[in-house]
């Protein structure tokens, strides 16, 4: 499967990345060679093989979705400057 320049644009949009003109060709080229490399998996017979998501075949533990009073909001939000009254600031999204 080859990777086209249009594919790169589409993937970049999905991944929220943007490439400059001079990077574009290099990414198309290298992603193409990675996809060609992993394409060798297509020839493996995997009929009747179940996919493996966890290396020891265990399922993930879940916890109750409850608020943890020990988490301090102010401390947690100290990692960004764009906070006001406990809210994260982003560019306007509704006109």
């Amino acid at each position: 499967m080859s990777v086209s320049s249009d594919d790169i644009d589409k993937l970049a949009t999905l991944a929220r990345l943007r490439f400059e003109k001079d990077e574009h060709a290099d990414f198309t080229d290298k992603l193409g060679s990675i996809v060609a490399f992993v394409d060798q998996l297509q020839s493996v017979d995997t009929d009747d093989v179940a996919p493996m998501a966890h290396p020891l075949d265990q399922s993930q533990r879940l916890r109750a979705d409850t608020a943890d009073p020990n988490i301090e909001r102010e401390q947690l939000q100290s990692t960004t400057s764009s906070v006001e009254d406990g809210l994260y600031l982003v560019p306007k999204v509704i006109e």
């Binding site: 990777v3 594919d7 790169i8 993937l11 970049a12 999905l14 991944a15 929220r16 990345l17 943007r18 490439f19 990077e23 990414f27 290298k30 992603l31 060679s33 990675i34 996809v35 490399f37 992993v38 394409d39 060798q40 998996l41 297509q42 493996v44 995997t46 093989v49 179940a50 996919p51 493996m52 998501a53 966890h54 290396p55 020891l56 265990q58 993930q60 533990r61 879940l62 916890r63 401390q75 947690l76 939000q77 100290s78 990692t79 960004t80 400057s81 764009s82 994260y88 982003v90 560019p91 306007k92 999204v93």
Partner: protein
């Protein structure tokens, strides 16, 4: 007396207990070396000298009070992928250049709780994506054995720092070989525990079904000491496994007599450097002399491990790294036009080329129309690879082979072609796909450069593997060799 910086962790522990030197003397000696020598190596991103000296004084007080903990006063460094409360944690990326975590990783808390003293945070490939430490935003790390060569990656800073005796031991992480490969290329003992053995909480995620924290040390004994402190169930990591923590140091004496070691036929053929093969074969002969039974085994699907990994790991990476949105933490672009522009520019400015490549690869294999052909297919092949290991462990107790195809390679040598770089991990990736514990230990030299022997064990059999390594290190001194200029 041996210079302080040449002492192993266990020797420092014994010396401190006997009052031969203080924790402050040890820590100060290492900090001096870092200041004088790290300019040429670039193995540290952040050095926490003041905090380390204060912790050393507290350790000396505890020792004086007869209150020493298991790792009291022992100087270590953390790969800069582990969150350290109040201390900058970059993950080798511009994205996190100014990130000061509000909490510490479980591993960081466990080692601090056992008394270990952190000298600083080590350099690494950006977000642990690389095999040469050349993708770091903070510059290449140089191999102490020859400065023009790579120390390997992604835990290259930890490897260079321990190998050059700038710190006694360091943590690392291993997603496809990122502890074992740098350990092999710098003459260290590198341990990747069983998936789920050590908590991933606070360890910045790359590929969550593969990532595991471990150690870079100068001996199997030192690895055993750290592993006992780092292991254990953590409710904060949903993949942490509730298994009893063994006394790994106590298990080192377990005899090697009758232990069956399988040599992977597929790893000893084409692609392995002849001189590397000679070192590995000599090591196997030594293990046989020590009582092990050596027999050939086959892992028929192991040749598919690199392509399988380069679907699974980028898929998980693209999902994990979507959290870097420029809003809650990390790099934020100036003057965004709108929200989409804020996301795109923050990420494009913050991530380097290899990270973007992996995000793009992951987005590709997960996108509509390709998911079944790539991601689901790779998960199925992963099961085949896993089944090969399970079959092999019905016949043998441990698996052995080379860690890398060649000794250390030159900085710049493989940066133009991602596939060539990816193939450096051809022998190590299988253990990550199967979640198995594995380690690399020094087994010889080729033209002055260290070569690694890899051992792989069944899940949770780290003790057996460490005992094998320890017996080998009792009879050989490859692991004790020090690079010239760092004696």
């Amino acid at each position: 007396m041996t210079a302080l910086h040449q002492l192993s962790l266990s020797e420092i522990r014994d010396g401190l207990a006997a009052g031969k030197f203080s924790a402050r003397e040890i820590v100060a000696a290492y900090l001096d070396r870092i200041e004088q020598m790290d300019g040429a190596l670039n193995s540290f991103i952040t050095v926490t000298a003041d905090a380390a000296l204060a912790a050393a004084d507290a350790s000396d007080q505890r020792i004086a009070n007869g209150d020493a903990r298991a790792l009291e006063g022992l100087p270590i460094a953390h790969k800069d992928i582990f969150c350290t409360e109040g201390v900058r944690t970059t993950c080798g990326s511009r994205m996190l250049e100014g990130f000061i975590p509000p909490y510490s990783a479980t591993v960081v808390n466990q080692l601090a709780g056992a008394g270990a003293i952190v000298l600083g945070k080590t350099n690494m490939d950006e977000f642990a994506m690389g095999s040469s430490n050349e993708t770091s935003y903070f510059g290449d790390v140089h191999n102490p054995w020859r400065h023009t060569l790579s120390p390997g990656g992604s835990s290259g800073g930890s490897a260079a720092a321990v190998s050059s005796r700038l710190v006694a031991a360091a943590t690392g992480t291993d997603t496809g070989g990122s502890i074992r490969q740098p350990a092999a290329l710098t003459g260290l003992t590198g341990l990747k525990p069983t998936y789920g053995r050590v908590s991933r909480y606070g360890m910045i995620a790359f590929a969550s079904s593969l990532d595991q924290a471990g150690t870079l040390t100068r001996s199997a004994r030192d690895a055993a000491m750290l592993l006992s402190a780092m292991s254990g169930f953590d409710p904060n990591d949903s993949t942490s496994i509730d298994q009893p923590v063994d006394d790994f140091e106590g298990m080192l004496a377990t005899p090697l007599n009758g232990v069956r070691i399988g040599v992977v036929e597929e790893f000893m053929g084409d692609g392995l450097d002849d001189e590397n093969r000679r070192c590995v074969e000599a090591a196997l002969a030594e293990l046989q002399k020590l009582g092990a039974e050596i027999k050939p085994i086959s892992l028929p699907n192991i040749g598919l491990s690199v392509p399988t990994y380069y679907v699974v790991a980028p898929a998980e990476c693209s999902s994990n790294l979507s959290r870097f949105d420029g809003i809650r933490f990390g790099h934020r672009a100036d003057d965004p036009e709108d929200l989409y522009d804020l996301y795109c520019r923050s990420r494009s400015e913050g991530f380097g080329a290899e990270v973007k490549r992996r995000i793009m690869t992951g987005t590709y294999v997960l996108s509509a129309g390709y998911y079944d052909a790539y991601y689901l297919k790779a998960q199925k092949v992963r099961r085949l690879i896993n089944a090969d290991f399970s079959r092999a462990f019905e016949e043998v107790d441990l698996i052995a082979g080379p860690t890398t195809p060649t000794p250390a390679f030159a900085l710049g040598e493989k940066t133009d072609d991602p596939i060539t770089m990816y193939l450096n991990d051809i022998y190590t990736i299988g253990a990550n796909l199967a979640g198995l514990p594995a380690m690399s230990l020094p087994c010889g030299f080729v033209e002055g450069l260290p070569v690694g022997l890899q051992l792989v064990a069944p899940a949770f059999a780290e003790g057996r593997m460490l005992a094998c390594a320890h017996h080998y290190q009792t009879e050989t001194d490859w692991h004790a060799r020090c690079p010239e200029g760092y004696e």
